[in-house]
Amino acid sequence: MGELQGLGAALSEAERTGVEIIAVSPDSNEQSQKVADGLRLSYRFLADRDLAVTRRYGLVHPGGGPDGRDVPRPATVVVDRDGVVRWFSVTHNVQVRPDPSDVLRAIRGL
């Protein structure tokens, strides 16, 4: 969640309305809503319960969750108005997420 908050804080008001930040996880809608409410964020939280989308993106970490559950590899993707991937970052350590300034640079460079 630190990444989402860092990103939100780094974007200017104008930028925040001009970009859609979508958070995808296997969490159910209920759980996502709790997270969204708790953090008072205006991001879209989407539920990828069976990891179908995560799999389509090649981002599954097999057995990486508790009970050996499959989980997503944390990643950030910047997609432009034409639906084209312009920048992405996949982490090698769950504690580490891309620097908001790197994401910002990618957004501002669109």
């Binding site: 859609e20 990643a75 034409d82 639906g83 580490v96």
Partner: protein, 132 residues
């Protein structure tokens, strides 16, 4: 520095690093350098070892500090270099190619499709592990 003070300093460095990391997690510079806490635990362990060497009469504070800091060092190093590791490998992402389209439900149960943003606004997709 006496053994007592060294032992105390060791505990302050170790506990302080753990607390500081947790507390400052929101700051990218802190969060993205978890090896920092491993280094701090290593420093604390060295301070405690020094305390054990110097202790003449009351030895238990030095040994306690050594146990505390080395425990944090082992646990912290294991977590940072093993437990928190995410495997590498290719993704389906290619810069310059269209992002795979999808439709998923949002928190209100409404379907949201990535393609619907085309011609509207850029999208930042953040894949995260979720909470359990």
């Amino acid at each position: 520095m006496t053994a007592g003070w060294l032992a105390a300093l060791s505990v302050v460095v170790a506990a302080g690093a753990a607390v500081a990391y947790a507390w400052l997690l929101r700051i990218a510079l802190v969060r993205n350098h978890p090896e920092g806490y491993v280094i701090a635990f290593a420093v604390a362990t060295m301070l405690a070892a020094l305390a054990v060497r110097r202790a003449k009469r009351r030895r238990w504070p030095a040994w306690l500090a050594l146990a505390f800091s080395s425990l944090l060092l082992v646990a912290g190093a294991w977590y940072n270099f093993v437990g928190a590791r995410v495997p590498g490998g290719p993704t389906a992402l290619r810069v310059g190619e269209t992002a795979p389209d999808f439709t998923l439900s949002d928190a209100a149960g409404r379907p949201v499709s990535l393609a619907s943003y085309r011609g509207q606004k850029p999208v930042v997709l953040v894949f995260y592990r979720g909470h359990w």
